[in-house]
């Protein structure tokens, strides 16, 4: 029987294989090194980037700016999304009023709004954060309200029967009962936010990982394009890991 460890080993072996294949393909000259830099070049580029940054902006700032924009938008989305989701999940008239609007906006790729937010708010920090915030908000509202609607009626009756007042019902019963779904919304929104920040920076920014990729491709500094992609991927994995840990901690009572 294969164990979890042997599957993990398999994952690492895949990475090792890709690395070896990459080194082979680039060093043997099978692929133009301008299109695919070798691992050694990438290693040197990474060192340079850490030491000197990119286009007179330090590395930590490119990374930090992207992360901060994500967190600001995501935070805003969560802060507004949970109460609105609770409201439209619990109170049907609110759902009737706002539901169709949210359903209309949700399937539109957030990137499609980039020209509009630039038109309205320019190319500063606010439009980027707003864009991320709206996308995160929509997914958290969707999941929260679904979570509220899925709460068994008997659970709410039990709470009322024991003397819970309306505000206690919301804070002590409905919110925790919907939390598993809310966490699903937060996880989706986090991944989405990270994707949107890069897209927004591709279009209009003076710093950030998206900006770096765009600028590097304009000036044909291909290793920096790859480096940007790798950093985005690694941070994406780290974010997913963080949200998984958070979910596990907050929902330990599900017993999984």
């Amino acid at each position: 029987m294969p164990t979890n460890n042997s599957y993990r080993l398999l994952s690492w072996l895949t990475w090792l294989f890709l690395l070896v294949a990459w080194a082979l393909v680039s060093n043997m000259g099978w692929v133009d090194p301008v299109i695919l830099p070798s691992p050694q070049v990438m290693f040197r580029t990474t060192i340079d980037f850490i030491a000197a940054g990119y286009s007179a902006t330090p590395a930590w700032r490119h990374i930090g700016v992207s992360v901060m924009r994500t967190f600001a938008g995501l935070g805003g989305g969560i802060l507004f999304g949970i109460p609105v989701g609770l409201l439209i999940g619990y109170y049907r008239p609110a759902n009737a009023i706002f539901g169709p609007i949210f359903s209309f906006i949700r399937p539109v790729p957030p990137i499609a709004f980039i020209p509009l937010v630039i038109l309205y708010f320019g190319i500063g920090e606010f439009p980027k954060i707003l864009l991320i915030g709206i996308a995160a908000f929509l997914y958290i509202v969707l999941n929260t309200s679904n979570g509220v609607r899925a709460i068994p009626i008997d659970l709410i009756r039990a709470a009322l029967n024991l003397g819970a007042k309306p505000h206690q019902l919301i804070a002590r019963v409905i919110l925790p009962a919907a939390l598993p779904q809310i966490m699903t919304g937060i996880k989706t929104a986090t991944a989405l936010s990270w994707a949107i920040v890069v897209a927004a920076e591709l279009v209009a920014a003076q710093a950030g990982l998206g900006y770096m990729i765009m600028d590097a491709s304009t000036f044909f500094r291909v290793p920096y394009v790859y480096l940007g992609i790798i950093i985005i991927g690694v941070i994406g994995i780290a974010l997913e890991w963080c949200t998984n840990v958070m979910e596990h901690r907050m929902l330990h009572w599900r017993g999984r």
Partner: protein, 286 residues
């Protein structure tokens, strides 16, 4: 003295849906009464409106017509002196057994000192002493129902409404829980209304049983259960117990739409006193 709980001509009609034009009549002129400290079971097949009756007494719904009286006064709203124990486990899964049990007092803003001792007591009374810090997912089905009973008891309810609380448990556990409930009643003396579709369960627990018939829900017969207390498992092999069980099963079957066993028992219908077993008397505890 007024009965503890009384239903007078209670009818309940649920509004129309796409599939049921004109609405559904769930209860049709139900009359019943439960005396203080009595255990009364409502026995019937699904569709006989027994859960609807419980929801009405609990205050989760209001009847279309008729009156529901508790201590002679019309029921208004949901109150912790009438507490429901549900069939589906409705423990709050994010709270430990202890926090579930103290949920009521905490919501009502009572000081910890006032309920802490009682919390320990009710938890040990239902046999969960060692599990006070466990979460619901760590409990078996029977233990969850024990915790639900403890969560009700801490509020010192006058009336305990049990909605098929042991229906989902295996036979062994169910018997254990029935005995536990009898013990709880001995000690706390609340009025208990117990919903079930299990004839033996109704006979084992109650002073009286109302047999309900479905579509629409009506009181078919009232049966006084003549056995003294304390009751033990030996009751299940008692002759009168078996005879009563047989009679009730026959009565239940005669009232099913496809029943072929229409017997003389049905003639008593409409909520009158049990005519087929005149020897049976109502056992009341003061």
């Amino acid at each position: 003295m007024a009965p503890k709980v009384e239903l007078r001509n209670v009818s309940q009609r649920f509004p129309s849906t796409a599939s049921r034009v004109g609405g559904t009549l769930a209860l049709d002129s139900v009359n019943l009464h439960i005396e203080e400290h009595e255990i009364v079971s409502l026995l019937g097949p699904s569709g006989c409106g027994k859960s609807t009756i419980l929801n009405l007494i609990a205050g989760f719904a209001t009847p279309t017509t008729g009156e529901i009286l508790v201590d002679g006064k019309q029921v208004s709203g949901i109150k912790p002196d009438r507490l429901v124990v549900f069939q589906s486990p409705t423990l709050f899964p994010w709270l430990t057994v202890m926090d579930n049990v103290t949920f009521g007092p905490r919501m009502r803003g009572e000081a910890v000192a006032t309920y802490k001792r009682l919390a320990e007591k009710v938890i040990s009374d239902v046999g969960l002493g060692r599990f006070r810090d466990h979460f619901p997912y760590q409990l078996s089905g029977g233990m969850k129902q024990r915790a639900q009973i403890a969560r009700a008891l801490i509020n010192r309810p006058e009336i305990l409404l049990l909605d098929e609380p042991f229906g989902a448990l295996d036979a062994q556990t169910r018997l254990e829980m029935q005995q536990l409930l009898l013990g709880i009643w001995d000690q706390y003396r609340c009025t208990i209304i117990f919903i079930t579709h299990d004839v033996e369960e109704a006979l084992f627990l109650s002073h009286r049983t109302y047999i309900l018939s479905p579509h629409p829900g009506r009181v078919h017969r009232e049966v006084a259960v003549p056995f003294g207390r304390p009751r033990t498992v030996a009751l299940f092999s008692d002759n009168t117990f078996s005879r009563l069980k047989g009679e009730i099963l026959t009565a239940l079957q005669s009232k099913l739409p496809y029943g072929e066993h229409a017997s003389e028992l049905t003639q008593g219908g409409g909520g009158e006193k049990d005519v087929a077993a005149p020897s049976l008397t109502v056992v009341r505890r003061a």
